[in-house]
C-alpha cells in the first residue's frame, strides 16, 4: 500500500535527533508492548509480514503523531482482533473497569501454543528464517541492469515508492526468500530470489544528488524487470 510508513525521500520531518545514553525502553508500557508483541507472535497465528502490514494500516495522521511502540500496539490489537483472540470491545470493557466474566488461567484456544519463559532463549536463538530451501532459478545475476516495476499494490509490499520505475543494477543475489506481498496477505510464500539492487543516487533524486552516491534496496524477482 502507498502508506505513510513508506517514508523514503520525504521532506519536512525535521532533523534526526540523537539521544545521549538512550535507554532501551523509555517507559514501562513500552517494555510490555514490546514483549506482548513478541509473545503474541509466538502463538503462531500470524507471520512477520502480517505484523508489518498490520502496523502499516494505522491511519497516516495517527502514525506520524504517535511513537514507535504505539505503532506496535496498534498492529497487535488489529491482529488479535482479526484472529478472534481479543476484541476491541473487550479492551474497552477492561479499560472501563468491567471485570465481569474474568476467568484467570483460562485455557488457551485449541492449537495455540503459549510462549513460556523457559522457551524464550531458544525462540530468539532460532529466529525465523525467511529463506526457502527450494531450487528456484534466479531471473537475474549480479551486474544485470534492471528496472523496478511501477506498481502500486493496495496490500503489503516491500517495494518502496522511491525506487519504482527507476533503473538499477543487481549487486548480489541473496538466494530464495519468502515473498512478503503474498505472505502478508495470507496468499502463500511464493518463494523467489531476492537481490541487493544498486540505484545511483542521481537516478533516484536527480542532479541534486552526489554523482558518486548510491542507494541499495533488497528487491525480489516480482519487483523487477530487465532493463
Amino acid at each position: 500500500m502507498n502508506g505513510i510508513h513508506d517514508l523514503g525521500g520525504m521532506h519536512g520531518m525535521g532533523p534526526a535527533v540523537r539521544e545521549e545514553n538512550e535507554p532501551v525502553f523509555h517507559r514501562e508500557w513500552e517494555r510490555r508492548a514490546f514483549a506482548l508483541t513478541l509473545a503474541a507472535g509466538a502463538l503462531g497465528k500470524w507471520n512477520l509480514d502480517m505484523s508489518r502490514y498490520a502496523r502499516e494500516q494505522m491511519p497516516p495522521a495517527e502514525y506520524l503523531s504517535t511513537s514507535y511502540y504505539e505503532h506496535w500496539l496498534y498492529g497487535l490489537e488489529l491482529l488479535l482482533a482479526e484472529h478472534g483472540l481479543v476484541t476491541g470491545e473487550q479492551i474497552e470493557a477492561r479499560l472501563a473497569g468491567e471485570t465481569g466474566g474474568r476467568v484467570r488461567d483460562q485455557r488457551p484456544p485449541e492449537g495455540v501454543r503459549v510462549l513460556r519463559a523457559a522457551d524464550v532463549d531458544e525462540l530468539l536463538r532460532q529466529g525465523r528464517s525467511a529463506r526457502v530451501a527450494e531450487d528456484i532459478q534466479p531471473r537475474f545475476k549480479p551486474g544485470d541492469r534492471v528496472v523496478a516495476r511501477e506498481i502500486h499494490p493496495v496490500g503489503h509490499t516491500r517495494l518502496p515508492r522511491y525506487v519504482r520505475g527507476r533503473h538499477g543494477a543487481i549487486d548480489r543475489d541473496h538466494g530464495v526468500f519468502v515473498f512478503p506481498d503474498t505472505h502478508a496477505m495470507g496468499q502463500g510464500k511464493k518463494p523467489q530470489h531476492c537481490y541487493s539492487v544498486r540505484f545511483a543516487a542521481r537516478e533516484l533524486w536527480g542532479a541534486q544528488a552526489s554523482p558518486r552516491d548510491a542507494v541499495y534496496a533488497d528487491l525480489w524477482d516480482d519487483y523487477l524487470d530487465p532493463a
Binding site: G8, G9, A117, Y162, H174, D218
Partner: protein, 211 residues
C-alpha cells in the same frame, strides 16, 4: 514528565504526558486480557524484556568488529558469510537470521536505514534507538545522506562514495568501520571498547583513543 525522548523529539507531536497515560492503561488492559485468556505467560514477557535490556546490545557487534580488525582471516569470513562468522562469536537468531557486513574504507562509506519500518540487526546491536525508527532519519537517509551525516557530526569529503543500504527484506546490515590509526598495539578487548553503535550503523566513525 522527565522522559528525554519526548522532550527532544519535536516530531513526536504529543503533549507531554497527556495521551501517553491512555496508552499506558491500554497496554495494561491488553496484558491483563491476554493473561486471563491464558495467551501470555508473564514470566516469558519478563524474560523477553530482560534479554534485550541486559543481554543483547551493541557490545556484541563491537566484539565482531574488534575481531575483524584483529584477525584478517576472521574479517575475510565475515565479509564472505557474515551470518556464519557472527555465529562463531555466539551471536545469532531473531532479527539477524541473514547478516551482511559492509566494510567502510577511505573511499566508501556505508550507511544503514530501514525506510519502511525499523529493520535492524538485533543479535549484534540490540533494539534500535528512537532516531533510527523515526520519520526524520527514515525519510532523509536515502535522499540526503550527506546532510543526515553532518547532523551526526560526520562531514564526508565529496570524493567519498556513500552507499545507503535500505533494509527492505530480511537481510540485516552491520557496518564494519575503519580501524582508527594509533590502535596497532591494542588488544581485541580494548579495540571493542572503542566501537560505538552509531559507527556500526554508519552514522559515525570510530575515533582514535586520546593519546
Amino acid at each position: 514528565m522527565s522522559d528525554p525522548h519526548h522532550e527532544h523529539d519535536e516530531t513526536h507531536g504529543r503533549e507531554h504526558g497527556a495521551p501517553l497515560g491512555d496508552t499506558e492503561l491500554r497496554v495494561k488492559a491488553l496484558e491483563s486480557l491476554l493473561f486471563d485468556k491464558g495467551l501470555v505467560d508473564p514470566a516469558a514477557l519478563d524474560r523477553l524484556i530482560d534479554t534485550y535490556e541486559t543481554k543483547v546490545g551493541p557490545r556484541n557487534g563491537a566484539r565482531v568488529v574488534a575481531r575483524a580488525w584483529a584477525d584478517p582471516a576472521y574479517k575475510k569470513r565475515l565479509l564472505e558469510d557474515a551470518t556464519a562468522a557472527i555465529a562463531e562469536l555466539g551471536f545469532a537468531g531473531r532479527g539477524g537470521e541473514h547478516m551482511v557486513v559492509l566494510e567502510n574504507t577511505p573511499k566508501v562509506h556505508n550507511l544503514v536505514v530501514c525506510t519502511l519500518c525499523s529493520c535492524y540487526p538485533w543479535p549484534v546491536l540490540g533494539l534500535p534507538p528512537v532516531w533510527y525508527k523515526s520519520a526524520p532519519y527514515r525519510s532523509r537517509a536515502v535522499i540526503d545522506p550527506r546532510g543526515v551525516l553532518r547532523e551526526f557530526g560526520l562531514d564526508l569529503a565529496e570524493d567519498v562514495e556513500i552507499r545507503v543500504w535500505d533494509s527492505t527484506a530480511e537481510l540485516r546490515y552491520l557496518v564494519l568501520p575503519e580501524r582508527p590509526a594509533g590502535t596497532e598495539a591494542m588488544s581485541e578487548e580494548e579495540l571493542a571498547a572503542l566501537v560505538t553503535r552509531d559507527a556500526m550503523i554508519g552514522v559515525a566513525r570510530v575515533e582514535a583513543p586520546p593519546r
